[in-house]
Amino acid sequence: MAYTIQLIDLSKRYRLGQAPLSLKSLFSSHKYTQDNRYHWAVKDINFALNAGEALGIIGPNGAGKTTILKLLSKVTYPTRGKILLDGRFSALIELGAGFHPDLTGRENVFLNGAILGMRKAEIQKRFDEIVEFAGIDKYIDTPVKRYSSGMYARLGFAVAAHVDPEILLVDEVLAVGDMAFQRKCYDRMLDLIKKGATLIFISHNMRAIQKVCSRTIVLYRGQVAYDGSPAQAAAEYSNILRTAATDRNGEDEPIGHGIAERVMTREAVIEHVEMLHNDGQPGNTFISGETVTVRATLHITADIQAPVFACAIRMPDGQVAYDYTTHWADLKTPNFYANTRSQVAFKLDLNLATGTYQLGINLAYEDLSKYYDRSDRLMDFVVTSPSGAKGVADLNARFSVIENKLHETEIFS
C-alpha cells in the first residue's frame, strides 16, 4: 500500500433529534435514505497521506474536525466511503480518557496504555520514560483525582505519545498545560514524524498547526474547503471564519435549507453583473492596472433602507485579494423602493497580478444583520500583466540599475 492513510469519499451522517424507537431500525444498518432530518457531519472527504507526512486540519466549530478523527480512530463508522489505514495508530482525542479518579497515576498509566492498545510488558518497559515525560514522578502513587488538570493532561499525553504509533491522531488537546510542556508535546510530535510516523493534528489554532504540519486542510461545513500549504490555509481559514460569522445570523431558520436561503431575504436581487473596460465595452479579460467598472443591476421588491454594498475579488483558492464595503468606507447609500430596478457601479483600478479571479457582490442590511442578496462568485475574470509578475497585487515594479563608482551593483525594486 502506497499511503499510510487514505480517505475515499468519506461521509458521515448523523440523525437530528431523537433516535428511532424501533428494534427494526437497529438492524437496517447501511441503508440510508434522503431525508432532511439527517445532517452530514462530513461529506465526500478525500485525502491521502504518506509515512512521515503531517497534516493539520483546521476549521470552525462544527466543521466536522472531530468527526473525521472519530472516523479515523474507528470510534464511529462512515455512512459512505472508506478509510484505509496501514499501521498501528494512537488517537489522542481526549487526554487521560479512561483514567479513573480513584486510581493512582501508576494504575492509570497501565489502564490507559491498555486502552490505547499497548501490552502490559510494553507499558512496563516504557513506564519510567512516561513518568519522566509527564514530570510527575513524586505523585505517581497518588490517586489522579488529586492531580491538577495540568498534571492530569501531562500524564495523559505522556502515555499516548509513548504508544510508539505509526499513525498519530491528535485532537485539540494541547491547550492545557504550561508553555514548557506544550513545547515538549510539539517536540515529541516532530520527533515521531521524523521517525516516519504519520500525523493528523486537529486544532482551531493555526499557529499550533504551523508548528508541526507541512500540509493543512481547511474544513468547512463538513467539506474540504482548502488543501495545501499551512500559510495559504491560514488565509483561507480567516476567510471562512468571516463567512461563518455572517452565516450565524440565520441559524434559527429551519435546518435543511441551503446556506443561501438562510442568510438572504432576497428583497433586493442582483440580476446582472458585468465588468466594463474603460471604453464601456463589457469583458472578462483585463490588463493589470486597467480602470474597470463593475456594474450590477438590482431588482428591488421591497422598500429598503441604506443598504451596504460590498465588492470582493477572490483567487481561485478562495483567498480574498480585495474586499470593499460601503460600510467600511463610511459611505452613505440611498434608500431604494419596492418594484424598481437600479444600477450600482464600483470603479476599480485593477492592480492585480496575472491570474484568474472571482468577482463577488453582497448586498446587506444597513445594520449588517442579514443579506438581501449575496454571491461570492458572480463571474470569473482574467488579468494579464505585461510584466508577468506573480502574487496577488500588481505593484507595478520598475526596475533599474544604478552603477556607482566602485562598480558595485545595487538593485531597487
Binding site: D102, A114, M118
Partner: protein
C-alpha cells in the same frame, strides 16, 4: 470487525484484566468494609430468608439446614443477578470512553462480570465454613465439577449481558426491565425453596429456566456429593445459544454506540 471475538479478546487480554482490576478497585475504594461486602450482602439476604422460611413459614429442606441450603444457591444467583445488572449498565456508564477511543466494546461488558467473580469466590468460601459448622459431609471430588457449572452460568449471563448492554445503550427503559426481570427470575428458580415443592406436572416447563438446572447443579455437587443430572444439559444448551445470540447481536450493533450519545 470481522475477526473472531475470541481472537480479539485474546489480543486485548491485558486491557481486559486492567479494566477488571479498575472495576474491582473502584468498587471498594473509599469504603471501610471493602471486600467484606462480598460476604455481607449474601449473608444479610440469607438471614432474611432463613428468618422467614425456617422460623415463620416452615420450608422442608431435608437433612440440610435451610441456611446452608439457600446460601448454596443464593451466592451463585447473586453473581448472576449482580453481573447482569452491571453488564447492562456497562456501555452506558462508559459512553464517554466509547465515544472517544476505539477498543473492543465487549471488554467493558465482560470485565464487570469478571469483577463479580471475585465476590463470588469470597462468598463461596464462607459456604465451606457453614458446612463445617453444621457438620455437613464435604465431597471434594464433585467440586471438580464446579468450573463446568460456573462456566455455563457465566455463558448464560454474558449472553444476556451483551444483549442488555447493547439495548440499554439505545433504550434506557432496559435498565428498569432488567430489575423487574431479575426479581421475577429469583422466584421461578429454586433458590429459596427446594425443587420438590414445584408440582410434578410443571417440572418439565420449570427446568426450561436455565438457572434452575444451574442452581440444582450447585446443590448437587456441594451438598449431595453427586454430579448434576440431565436437566443441567438443558441449562448448558440454552446458555450456549444465548451466548452466541448475544455476541451476534452485540457485534451487529456495537458500531453505533458512539453515535447515540
Amino acid at each position: 470487525m470481522h475477526t473472531s471475538p475470541i481472537k480479539t479478546l485474546f489480543h486485548h487480554r491485558d486491557l481486559l484484566s486492567a479494566w477488571t482490576m479498575r472495576v474491582i478497585r473502584a468498587r471498594y475504594q473509599q469504603s471501610i468494609l471493602g471486600g467484606l461486602w462480598a460476604v455481607l450482602q449474601p449473608v444479610a439476604t440469607v438471614t432474611i430468608f432463613t428468618t422467614v422460611f425456617s422460623l415463620i413459614l416452615k420450608v422442608d429442606t431435608g437433612d440440610i439446614p435451610y441456611v446452608v441450603f439457600s446460601y448454596t444457591a443464593l451466592v451463585p444467583w447473586m453473581l448472576f443477578s449482580a453481573s447482569i445488572t452491571d453488564m447492562s449498565e456497562s456501555i452506558v456508564s462508559n459512553m464517554n470512553l466509547v465515544g472517544k477511543i476505539f477498543f473492543p466494546r465487549d471488554i467493558l461488558v465482560i470485565s464487570v462480570m469478571m469483577a463479580r467473580l471475585l465476590d463470588f469466590f469470597i462468598a463461596y468460601a464462607l459456604l465451606i465454613v457453614l458446612m463445617v459448622y453444621f457438620s455437613i459431609p464435604i465431597f471434594m471430588v464433585t467440586w471438580l465439577f464446579l468450573p463446568v457449572i460456573l462456566l455455563v452460568q457465566l455463558a448464560l449471563a454474558l449472553g444476556l449481558g451483551l444483549i442488555l448492554a447493547a439495548l440499554n445503550a439505545f433504550y434506557r427503559d432496559v435498565k428498569h426491565v432488567v430489575i423487574l426481570l431479575l426479581q421475577v427470575w429469583l422466584y421461578v428458580t429454586p433458590i429459596i425453596y427446594p425443587v420438590n415443592l414445584v408440582p410434578e406436572r410443571f417440572q418439565s416447563i420449570y427446568f426450561l429456566n436455565p438457572m434452575a438446572g444451574v442452581v440444582e447443579g450447585y446443590r448437587a455437587i456441594m451438598l449431595y456429593g453427586s454430579i448434576p443430572d440431565d436437566r443441567f444439559l438443558i441449562s448448558a444448551s440454552v446458555a450456549l445459544v444465548v451466548l452466541l445470540a448475544g455476541y451476534w447481536f452485540f457485534k451487529r450493533v456495537e458500531h453505533r454506540f458512539a453515535d447515540i450519545i
